[in-house]
Symmetry: C2
Subunit: 244 residues, 2 copies
DNA sequence: CGGCATGTTGAAACGTTTCAACGAGAGTGG
DNA sequence: CCACTCTCGTTGAAACGTTTCAACATGCCG
């Protein structure tokens, strides 16, 4: 079915001389134009902020992993594309999340901007430097990896045994939700195709499952990118397989 | 369908006083009865060897993660069980692999012995101690986590978009194989149900896919736990979706 | 207002699951 | 050594859910 996939490579000219960074790791803090810190923050705290347009590529699978990133604004998807053009999204990242740091030498997935995105970018070698200097940073780094692994295992569990409706329900329940008049609203940072690729379904099945939940008044879809959970009890029951 | 699942908890009485270890982390090397080391080894190198019988539980999901383990002999499965009794195996571990170390505080999955198993067990706090003392151990620890994450992402990709036959082909190709007269033999450390639970399929579908490959002379199944790859070109093509 | 990407729905084809029955192999005791 | 039993693996046929292909609707941006 060979869907068209955006493959715009972000050719940012503000990439610093990497060789220089490699040879002089301690100097990496010099060029800092941004400092980001919060209580439960992760090891990427220094770096420069870069913006990506919707569907722009941040890095590609297999590329040398020079940088680690932290989402400042917007959402990022990590995916793998197959020979037949189909795509599996392995993870999403939202503000505060670190990515590009999971692997050793090369990026294990491709990272793309789901929407307009701002990321904090820091050379990995720089993070490593901080990490070995500060046990606390190192601890956070391990913690972050653990969380990613745990998320990946939950994803495996979902794809391995849940039906389309269950996946949709589970998916919606993982997002932050805020109270509105008639339930809890969720702002989806992504479109149907991305949801489908994350859940291992086709876009049509995804739509149908959503329409079905809507028909049964469990959810509402006021706009394309927003859903309202009207009956979170039912939604949870469906998610856990306790109801159809 | 509520399958019967072994839930024998291994009540080993040789568990040392954990509190003691927690309060005196440096002392953990004292009781060493075993030392295991090889060139590409991972951080778990000290500890005692414990044996588990087939289907015995090594630890349960949600339990306090006191120990890290290294497989010495046999195979270990990491799984999550759902409300409906179905099970998703998230990972297998074979000799040399480390497990029980992925998570922060609690075990994220249940670990069970697939066959007769010998593991090297080391208190995590002890590994942490080595890890913070020796940057090289720390590096290996991070490397190991990365590998697990990468494996989990490949697993996600498989469950997300591969057909039953593709999954079986992919699965067989991940094992070590050795040359035999009519192809390459693979010793499966696990039974059909375990394979099915790993691939997110039913045992029947797993069987049928195997029978199909056998009928087409791509593989052979001389015994239940052994398969012979006769046509690895076709098997690879099937795995990658380039052939049905 | 067009034009294009994105989302939705329908009907048939397809693959996997389910339920049921049967076969094969390993271990035990006569 | 055979018969027995129990687990594990295999096969068949119908039911089920997802995908496919096609058409159409909606929203967005120039």
């Amino acid at each position: 079915m060979l869907r068209k996939l955006s493959a715009t490579f972000h050719d940012s000219e503000d990439v610093p001389a990497v060789n220089e960074l490699v040879s002089r790791p301690a100097s990496c803090a010099r060029g800092c134009r941004f400092f980001h810190h919060d209580a439960e923050t992760e090891p990427v705290e220094f770096g420069i902020v870069i913006r990506f347009a919707r569907n722009e590529t941040i890095y590609v699978k297999g590329g040398k992993a020079f940088y680690a990133y932290k989402v400042v604004e917007g959402a990022v998807r990590l995916s793998r594309v197959f020979a037949d053009g189909r795509r599996q999204i392995v993870n999403f990242h939202q503000p505060g999340d670190i990515f590009g740091f999971e692997t050793a030498e090369e990026y294990s997935s491709t990272a793309e901007a789901v929407s307009e995105v701002a990321v904090l970018r820091c050379p990995r070698i720089c993070v490593m430097h901080f990490s070995s200097a500060d046990p606390e940073v190192n601890r956070r780094r391990l913690h972050m990896l653990s969380r990613s692994l745990n998320a990946a295992e939950r994803h495996v569990a979902m794809l391995g045994h849940q039906s389309a409706r269950q996946r949709i329900a589970t998916f919606f329940l993982t997002f932050e939700r805020y109270e509105v008049g008639n339930g809890y609203a969720v702002d989806l940072p992504l479109g149907r195709q991305d949801i489908a690729d994350y859940l291992g379904l086709t876009i049509e099945t995804t739509c149908r499952a959503m329409s079905d939940l809507k028909r049964r008044q469990i959810i509402d879809t006021p706009t394309r990118r927003q859903i309202v959970i009207r009956d979170s009890v039912s939604l949870t029951a469906i998610s856990e397989g306790l109801a159809a």
